[in-house]
């Protein structure tokens, strides 16, 4: 009798593992498929920085525009203004005092930042083993991908990055950046609109 129970238990556990693996694979496939169909994406975002040492939250708001495969505008509107634009090989950093255009081909750090940001917006980073080791699970009706940084520069900054995907749309709706010191930044994407025409001026570097 004991042997039967043991065999049954083994069978069940193998089944559960197989199911989890299939689930992980099918989720990745679905996210990848959707990511390819997203030509443009635009949304509002709310960024909350949790300061562990000060027991404080800093909330900032802004707007994001993405155009496959090499244009991104990440703009903070309140309580401060700051704009980060990726347009092909150029990155614009704009604050109240100055505008700086950086050629990513001449700056390795910015090339990496631009590549990771572009990959993360629609979830392409899940299939990029060089930057992150990732695992996916289903939590409270959404897909949650936990990314463990693999590169030294990223490891120095982040413990992990967590991407939340809506199951309906298979697109990123929330990002959590967990730093080495325990601080956490949450970015919630709201009013997401995909595949609508975006004026090219949005990505202009001036």
């Amino acid at each position: 009798m004991r042997r039967y129970i043991y065999v049954l238990f083994l069978f069940c556990s193998v089944n559960i593992t197989l199911y989890a693996q299939q689930d992980d694979t099918s989720i990745r496939r679905k996210i990848g498929q959707i990511a390819h169909t997203i030509k443009t994406m635009q949304c509002d975002f709310v960024q909350t920085k949790h300061l562990k040492i000060l027991n404080d939250n800093m909330v900032s708001k802004g707007r994001m525009y993405y155009q496959q495969s090499d244009r991104l505008r990440w703009e903070y509107i309140s309580p401060y203004t700051y704009t980060f634009i990726i347009n092909k090989d150029k990155v614009l950093l704009k604050n109240n005092r100055r505008n700086d255009v950086i050629d990513v081909n001449k700056n390795k750090i910015f090339k990496e930042i631009a590549r990771i940001m572009m990959n993360s917006v629609v979830g392409n980073c899940l299939n990029d083993d060089k930057d992150f080791k990732s695992s996916i699970s289903v939590v409270r009706g959404e897909w949650v991908a936990v990314l463990q940084p693999q590169r030294r520069e990223l490891k120095q900054m982040f413990q992990k990055i967590v991407l939340h995907f809506s199951q309906n749309q298979a697109i990123v709706t929330r990002v959590e950046l967990i730093e080495k010191n325990g601080d956490k930044t949450e970015i919630e994407l709201k009013n997401i609109r995909t595949n609508e025409t975006i004026n090219s001026n949005i990505f202009a570097l001036n």
Partner: protein, 140 residues
Amino acid sequence: MKRLILISLLLISQLPIAQLYAQTTFPTQNGERIRYSSYIEMNGAYISGICVLLNEDGVIQGCLFNEFGITAIEFSYNPERNKVKLKHVIKMMDKWYIRRVLRKDIAQLMSLLYNGKTEYQNTRRNISYQFIPIIDEVTQ
């Protein structure tokens, strides 16, 4: 005598102004916190971001992070001793010679903020600091 009275009056008249600045540019009360739009420039390069200062029983706890939320520096400042203790410095800046400059410059900056000034220039190292208080509508 008249000159002395005049100087006294001038000093007294400046007191409320100094306190007003201290109230708006430096957290003088226990539990008070102020957020700043921060800008540090050195040799053509710059770091911009947000700084939060919290008064905790007379000691100032500070945190500086960039616009994307990545923490660069955590520190505490003792106004009585004018001393800064660095609690965390982002790996790429975590060098002994950078820490030494940061400790001295942050202490200078804190003392200037207390007196209502929002800028500090380290002329020897050619580093300029600007910390402008943010009017915070959406902070929780």
